[in-house]
Amino acid sequence: MIISVASGKGGTGKTTVALNLALSLSNVQVQLLDCDVEEPNSHIFLNPVIEETKPAQTLVPKVNYELCDYCGKCAPACEYNALVVLPEKEVMVFPELCHGCGLCSLVCPQEAISEEPREIGVIKKGRSGDGKIDLVYGLLNIGEVKATPLIDQVKAELNPAKTVIIDVPPGTACPVIAAVQSTDYCILVTEPTPFGLYDLKLAVEVLRVLKIPFGIVVNKAGIGDRKVYEYCAKEGIPILLEIPHDKRIARYYSEGVPFVREMPEWEERFAGMMKSIKEYVG
């Protein structure tokens, strides 16, 4: 089973839920995929032993000047303005703009364009200190603009024999789609505040478009107002769990400690949530 944990915006406690859930499942093997490749945080809490680090790559065009006759056909074909042809001189490639679609090499009448790999980040694979959880996370290089290819590559490490939990990047745009797509269930984490509610509604829209079943975890319950609850009741969205606004939980989070480790009574609650999700997914 593949469960994604998402939220309309960052900082709502998505990583907290993903991690504590992973740590509460004692009788299954768990793989945690941190797809928040712009700001991955899971490893801070798990202190994993990293067993493998490999470069994540996309393809960029490379021009063979022995074949190129500067006809200029490649540049206007590129939808992302990643190519400029300087007549009789050079074909300039802007790698950050290139999506690696391969169109320019198809277009070139001289077959002068081949492709070469370019590193956009790294993928790290490891295991939590106690050996219980497999962790895979991606780290996007500074200055890179596109997270999606790296997210796809993190997801390619998915082990279907395990219970897989995916930490989804925040927001409602492309990277989120890449991470939640083809998961069996999505846990949406929100705060009971006006900001939380607004961003939750956007996230719900995404999941409805993708037809992925979902339920809500209310984090920092007790702050704000009741509008998130009213919205969920009206829309018939199940509230799976409430995590109270609690100084101890906030403190453990700030120290980089998953709170179930210090508050074991919560293990049962997370495991119970998983059980009801499993029953729902069937």
Binding site: G8, K9, G10, G11, T12, T15, E38, E39, N41, I44, F45, A77, E79, Y80, H99, G100, C101, G102, L103, L106, V107, L140, I142, G143, E144, V145, K146, A147, P169, P170, G171, T172, A173, C174, P175, V176, I177, Q181, T193, P194, F195, Y198, D199, L202, E205, V206, V209, L210, I223, G224, D225, A250, R251, Y253, S254, E255, G256
Partner: protein, 294 residues
């Protein structure tokens, strides 16, 4: 004209709360909400929309099924797995995955595919109690678009010129990718909002290298600094080592959430108790004003 952008590696650190309050405190400015993916500033500033503009940022492949002979070339060509076929309905483009690159269009022997522009969001120019505001909403499931951020900033710039404003106050996008890079270009100061947690410190380090990569002057705000004063100390030490100024520190204060529920910026929130956060934000704003005038 000066430009200040407020960012945070992750979002949810109080960035919008700060921008909302700065909007009250700053004079003669235009406000720009560049968090186009999950914009929240309007919940505090209640803009009255004056103009609404369609945003056509990305194209998408559209298939004319009457011309398609099911040859499968397009599926083979597409690098983004955006074309697949099913038993019942044959080949189709998956809108959520298509990046509009045009490779399939070029390769289709039947000319059954075309690239078409589509509306992927809206940009607005509005007025608020505290001045003009440029903002936007990206439709869900679209590319996290730096282009829409650029459009919002351009709208803000034009409005500022027209109205003779000296400052653009930007609520930046989260993350380190395209939208945040678009909210950083050419600004005079990037205020990074962080929280004293291990993950906050980690995110701060990453976003700070992005800010430096684009040669923008950074300054740091530690929000809820009393949650963990040891980590606050670590952040301060890190900033000292980097030579990055700390513009201010804000105590954890319930009033911030209360003001948010009431839908007003915390510095404009009338509460029976004096809010320490509001005072600290006001002090910080005066410090930032000095920094951007330098």
């Amino acid at each position: 004209m000066r430009q200040l952008t407020v960012i945070s590696g992750k979002g949810g650190t109080g960035k919008t709360t700060l921008v909302g309050s700065f909007a009250v405190l700053a004079e003669n400015k235009v406000i720009a909400d560049c968090d186009v993916d999950a914009p929240d500033l309007h919940l505090l500033l209640h803009p009255e929309i004056l103009t609404k503009q369609e945003f056509k940022g990305v194209k998408i492949a559209v298939m004319d099924k009457t011309l398609c002979t099911e040859c499968g070339t397009c599926e083979e060509t597409c690098r983004f797995n955006a074309i697949a076929s099913t038993e019942e309905s044959g080949y189709a483009v998956n809108q959520a995955r298509c990046e509009g690159c045009g490779a399939c269009v070029f390769m289709c022997p039947q000319e059954a595919l075309t690239l078409q522009e589509r509306v992927s969001g809206y940009a607005f120019i509005s007025k608020t109690k505290y001045g003009a505001m440029a903002h936007a909403q990206l439709n869900v499931a679209e590319e996290a678009s730096g282009k829409l951020v650029t459009l919002v900033r351009e709208n803000a710039r034009q409005t500022a010129e027209k109205e003779g404003c000296e400052l653009i106050l930007i609520d930046g996008a989260p993350g380190i990718g395209c939208p945040v890079i678009a909210s950083l270009g050419g600004v005079d100061l990037a205020l990074i909002v962080t929280e004293p947690t291990q993950s906050g410190l980690h995110d701060l380090k990453r976003i700070l290298s992005v800010v430096e990569h684009f040669s923008v002057k950074p300054s740091v705000c530690i929000n809820k600094y009393d949650i963990n004063e040891e980590v606050t100390g670590e952040i301060e030490a890190f900033c000292r080592e980097k030579g990055t100024e700390i513009a201010g520190k804000i105590l954890y204060d319930d009033t911030i959430t209360k003001a948010m529920v009431a839908g007003v910026p915390v510095v404009a929130f009338e509460s029976e108790l004096k809010s320490t956060a509001a005072e600290e934000i006001t002090l910080m704003w005066h410090r930032i004003e000095r920094i951007i005038q330098q």
